[in-house]
């Protein structure tokens, strides 16, 4: 069924949909009329009093969930409720790294599932999400890093996921700005490379899924904050919102950054802490950085956007915060590492700095599961690594909601694991996972 999805992923967009096809020809045609005839990418309907499924959260994961509910399961009586603007949370704030070379089988499976969907996503959505498999390079600084990365490489290979070991010289050849000199405080001693990894255009993912879901009948409702979750005994029956009560047969919470807040409305306490994750970009320069590079040891990751900006991910702050700010010294620490590893970038300049709120679980692995409240499902806890999982996460979460049982791929990502101890500890496996 999974491979099925990938196949369909490469097929054309639905014929039944009302969606206006995008192509160079439609561009040319519209150029003649001064682009006055483009349709809205999605409607802005008034919320209806009831839906079969309500998705709380209009980020990439929520919109993808709605899209696959409609496409894979024929459930189109769906509303996506977004308290602000689509993709305004972490979807629009992350550094767009996509990779699947995780250590544990459970993680590898879900991120690889996602990777396969990425590979056909632009065609699937008829929306150019600019998925660019530029290669993701993870640097090792010393024997301990090497052991950790090689453990990943071996596990990935046997899981059918590409990930290879490079010598410092090979890493330098793949990523010329990299400094492999011995004068470094922590010289580069090798690297793991996933060639299929890369980046995508974050906003386009939200917009593409929104457009696709809308074309299949999903109501996308922005500026509609959920203020309460209504229960009838142990069953969810709807949500209170700033635009009135909306009844729902099922509710899927996909509110990264606010999972604890929304779940508390349903009376559930979560194994989650929400912390700021900072990122920044440089001023745009001509192409100079060909891939994605990251170093967990001296915490930094970097790529170059199509526009030419160096996109740099910093670490998380140490305290819980919903302020989307974070502290000065975090970005400072990351730039130390960047300048150390890529000394030619020392004179480039930070253009913008921002933070998202990431929901971190104790094992840094997500939760995609049913909850003790019947009809209430939660997709959260992606920590610093959620963007890359967007398609796969939405795909299996839609399955979980539609069938009221997890897809085999997300079956391990339960809430119960924190009670039984069956954690999927990517945090222990490799510092933080991006």
């Amino acid at each position: 069924m999974v491979n099925d999805a990938y196949r369909r992923g490469r097929s054309a967009a639905p014929s039944h949909g009302t969606m206006q096809r995008y192509s160079i020809f439609s561009l040319a045609r519209n150029a003649l009329t001064g682009h006055r005839n483009w349709q809205a990418a999605w409607r802005s309907p008034e919320p209806r009093p009831a839906y079969e499924v309500v998705i709380v959260g209009g980020g990439g994961h929520g919109l993808a969930t709605a899209y696959y509910l409609a496409k894979e399961h024929g459930i189109t009586n769906v509303a996506v409720l977004e308290k602000g603007w689509l993709g305004g949370g972490n979807t629009g704030r992350n550094t767009t790294v996509v990779r699947s070379n995780y250590l544990y089988d459970e993680s590898a499976a879900i991120y690889e599932h996602s990777m396969k969907l990425w590979e056909g996503l632009a065609q699937e959505l008829n929306y150019n999400v600019m998925f660019s498999q530029r290669g993701v390079l993870m640097l090792a600084h010393g024997s301990h890093d090497e052991q950790v990365l090689k453990r990943h490489i071996h596990a990935d290979r046997l899981n059918g996921i590409d990930n290879e070991w490079l010598t410092p010289a090979q890493a330098k050849a793949f990523c010329p700005p990299l400094n492999i000199g011995k004068e470094l405080r922590y010289p580069v001693t090798g690297a793991a490379l996933q060639r299929r990894g890369g980046t995508a255009r974050h906003d386009a993912v939200a917009w593409g899924y929104a457009r696709g879901a809308d074309a299949r009948g999903v109501d996308i409702i922005q500026n509609c904050a959920v203020t309460g979750v209504r229960r009838d005994g142990d069953r969810v029956v709807g949500v209170e919102t700033t635009r009135g009560y909306i009844a729902a047969g099922k509710v899927g919470v996909v509110a990264a950054g606010h999972t604890s807040v929304v779940m508390a409305m349903a009376g559930l306490r979560m194994p989650i802490e929400s912390v700021p994750l900072q990122a920044l970009v440089s001023e745009p320069v001509k192409p100079v950085f060909p891939c994605v590079a990251m170093s967990n040891a001296i915490h930094a990751y970097i790529s170059q956007s199509d526009k030419g900006e160096l996109v740099i991910g910093a670490g998380t702050d140490q305290y819980v915060s919903y302020g989307q700010r974070g502290s000065f010294h975090i970005a400072e620490h990351t730039l130390e590492a960047i300048v150390e590893l890529f000394p030619i970038f020392s004179r480039l300049r930070m253009l913008r700095q921002w933070a998202g709120i990431v929901d971190c679980t104790p094992d840094r692995s997500p939760i995609l599961a049913r909850t003790p409240v019947r009809g209430l499902y939660v997709n959260c806890g992606w920590g610093t690594g959620g963007f890359k999982a967007t398609p796969g996460s939405g795909h299996v979460f839609a399955h979980t909601i539609a069938r009221d049982e997890p897809h085999p791929i997300n079956a391990p990502f339960t809430l119960e694991r924190f009670r039984t101890g069956r954690l999927i500890d990517e945090a222990a496996a490799a510092a933080v996972a991006h």
């Binding site: 604890s260 979560m270 194994p271 929400s274 305290y319 819980v320 915060s321 919903y322 010294h329 924190f418």
Partner: protein, 97 residues
Amino acid sequence: MLLITCPWCGPRAEIEFRCGGEAHIARPDPATASDADWERYLFLRENAKGVTLERWWHVHGCRRWFNAARDTTTEEFLAFYRMGEPPPATLRARLGR
């Protein structure tokens, strides 16, 4: 960079501190605690949006642990109090606890 008032050393820069997360989480009696109790103690957090009570350690100072009340939407600190002390009455009133 937060400005944190250590009950002993006064206001200091955040880089001198480590945040210990949510405060006042009691460790259950291991003899009688259920797996659910242990999960609650180890992992479940209020993760409040608004005023939270948390623990800080002045690692690059007097090396004392202490408690603080902070609004997680504005980073405004409402109170600092020593380990073992209850939150100030004014604060408890505001929190309705």
